[in-house]
């Protein structure tokens, strides 16, 4: 059995989730507190991947990042980044594709905290950053966990974007979802079944773990 597409999927999901977390915390805390006029526009942009067909997203990535275009060319020449048919391209596309799944839970969590909590930290002399790290983020731990898991699972399950921008290069862009399609095309149902079963089990376990942790079942069990 060829484990490569599965490992690639997990690597892609892991890297994407980590970068998304770093990116989404400041973005979500801005969205949760801002009174800016641009907030609705920003919220729309963040939510777009929810409704847009992944192929549309993939198509525009393909156009924008193509070395034949000004932006793609600039990326290639100045940063040495080739985003078409490469793993880094998949990461960038996945970040945008899974952005709402990370931002929404964190934003909702931060909005639900009573403002007096951070005000209490401010009058105690704590900076905004310290307050975020020591008070707000620990308080919304369940939301963070939800965001991490949804973004991870969503990246594992992505197909259209990857196919458009990544293609089907073994070891580079051939992730499990593509491999399944590939095997079915070749009428190799046993191979497709192998990848599918592993993905099925992984996603079930991840989601189960979230519900166990956020529902407090584990805590009760350990006691």
């Amino acid at each position: 059995m060829n484990w490569e597409p599965l490992l690639l999927t997990l690597k892609l999901a892991g890297v994407t989730t980590l970068l998304l977390l770093v990116l989404s915390i400041p973005l979500a805390s801005w969205l949760a507190t801002t009174k800016s006029r641009f907030k609705p526009v920003m919220e729309t942009l963040v939510s777009m991947p929810l409704v847009l067909p992944p192929t549309v997203l993939g198509f525009y990535f393909l156009i924008v990042f193509s070395p034949n275009n000004a932006f793609g060319n600039w990326l290639d020449e100045w940063l040495g980044l080739k985003l078409i048919f490469s793993f880094s391209g998949l990461v960038v596309a996945s970040i945008i594709y899974s952005l709402p799944f990370m931002v929404h839970p964190i934003q909702a969590g931060l909005s639900s905290i009573s403002p007096s909590l951070k005000e209490a930290a401010y009058v105690m002399g704590k900076s905004k950053l310290t307050t975020l790290i020591k008070v707000l983020l620990p308080t919304i731990k369940p939301s963070l966990l939800t965001g991490i898991v949804l973004a991870f699972a969503h990246t594992v399950g992505e197909f259209g974007v990857v196919l458009m921008i990544g293609g089907n290069i073994p070891g580079k862009t051939k992730v499990a979802s593509i491999a399944i399609y590939d095997e079915v095309e070749a009428l190799n149902y046993a191979g497709a079944n192998f990848y599918s079963t592993v993905l099925f089990v992984i996603t079930f376990c991840i989601l189960l773990a979230v519900y166990l942790i956020n529902g407090g079942y584990l805590k009760r069990f350990w006691k």
Binding site: S114, S116, L117, E119, A120, A121, Y122, V123, M124, G125, K126, S127, K134, V135, P138, T139, K141
Partner: protein
């Protein structure tokens, strides 16, 4: 000394309202802000602490300027060194009682300060508990202890006792008096409870629609119209019944329901729902202690 002269437009309950204050508070005073909801009491505390910014004016505390719209001075809340007890206590839910206090300790602060406060507020047995497992009165004590960890010069209390029952209230009032004296604080309290105000404070500002309409000692503010020694209460008529030759009028006074005898001539002018004054002139009331 606190000198507060500020103006700020607020969204009051009846549309826009101008909060326009000019008050001085001497060091070591225990001051109460009294007034209806939406009169601007909480906004006053928030402006003083820097959580809300006034449009015009100047705030000076113990010789330092905290805010001055003319010279664009505006100290951040982080640097004003204020102890603030919020209405909802604002305890950090992920930290234990002790960690909540330690979080407030300044970088060069002494850990002993936390221990002292835990002992003083009788929180030692609760120090490893999370806030969600505490009762209202216990949360209140933690919030108060936490506000004092950074040794503030000014303590602000936003209706800290309003959610508690009478017995715990009285006990917490003792704690408040104790810390006010021990830490030589200037304390500003928001309260609706006249009894509480009498017990705790030596100066009252009555706010109405963003302005101070009355100020002075609690006796000066609250006793003015009853100082004649007459025994009278305002109430609402709930029921009028005929009993033999007289009438019995049931009146709601605050939370107490009382029955008053009235003659037929007096009843003529009364209907259910009327606001009335129940007064006694000739008899001396008797006082019993209740526990």
């Amino acid at each position: 000394m606190i000198a507060l002269r500020i103006q700020k437009k607020l969204d009051g309950p009846n549309g826009d309202m101008l909060l326009d204050l000019d008050i001085q508070i001497q060091k070591g005073q225990f001051v109460t802000l009294y007034g209806a909801s939406g009169a601007g009491k909480t906004s006053t505390l928030r402006i003083l602490s820097g959580l809300l910014q006034a449009e015009k004016g100047k705030i000076e505390v113990n010789g330092t300027t905290w805010f001055d719209s003319a010279t664009k001075v505006n100290k951040k809340p982080q640097t004003r060194n204020i102890g603030y007890v919020f209405q909802d206590y604002a305890l950090f839910p992920t930290m234990t009682v002790e960690e909540n206090l330690l979080f407030g300790l300044p970088k060069k602060g002494d850990q002993k300060e936390v221990t002292t406060l835990l002992e003083m507020m009788e929180l030692v047995d609760l120090k490893d508990r999370k806030p969600t497992t505490l009762s209202g009165g216990q949360k209140q004590r933690v919030a108060l202890a936490r506000a004092l960890v950074q040794k503030p010069a000014v303590l602000l209390l936003d209706e800290p006792l309003s959610a508690l029952d009478m017995k715990i209230r009285l006990k917490l009032q003792d704690y408040l008096l104790k810390v006010h004296k021990t830490y030589e604080l200037t304390t500003i309290l928001i309260s609706h409870d006249i009894g509480e105000i009498y017990r705790l404070s030596n100066q009252v500002f009555v706010l109405e629609n963003g302005k101070v309409i009355k100020s002075g000692t609690p006796s000066e503010v609250f006793l003015n119209d009853t100082i004649s020694g007459k025994f009278k209460f305002k109430g609402e008529v709930l029921k009028i019944e005929k009993d033999e030759v007289v009438y019995l009028v049931t009146v709601l006074i605050q939370n107490e329901v009382v029955k008053v005898i009235a003659a037929a001539s007096e009843i003529k002018r009364l209907t259910i729902g009327d606001r009335v004054i129940v007064a006694s002139k000739a008899f001396n009331p008797v006082i019993y202690k209740i526990e």
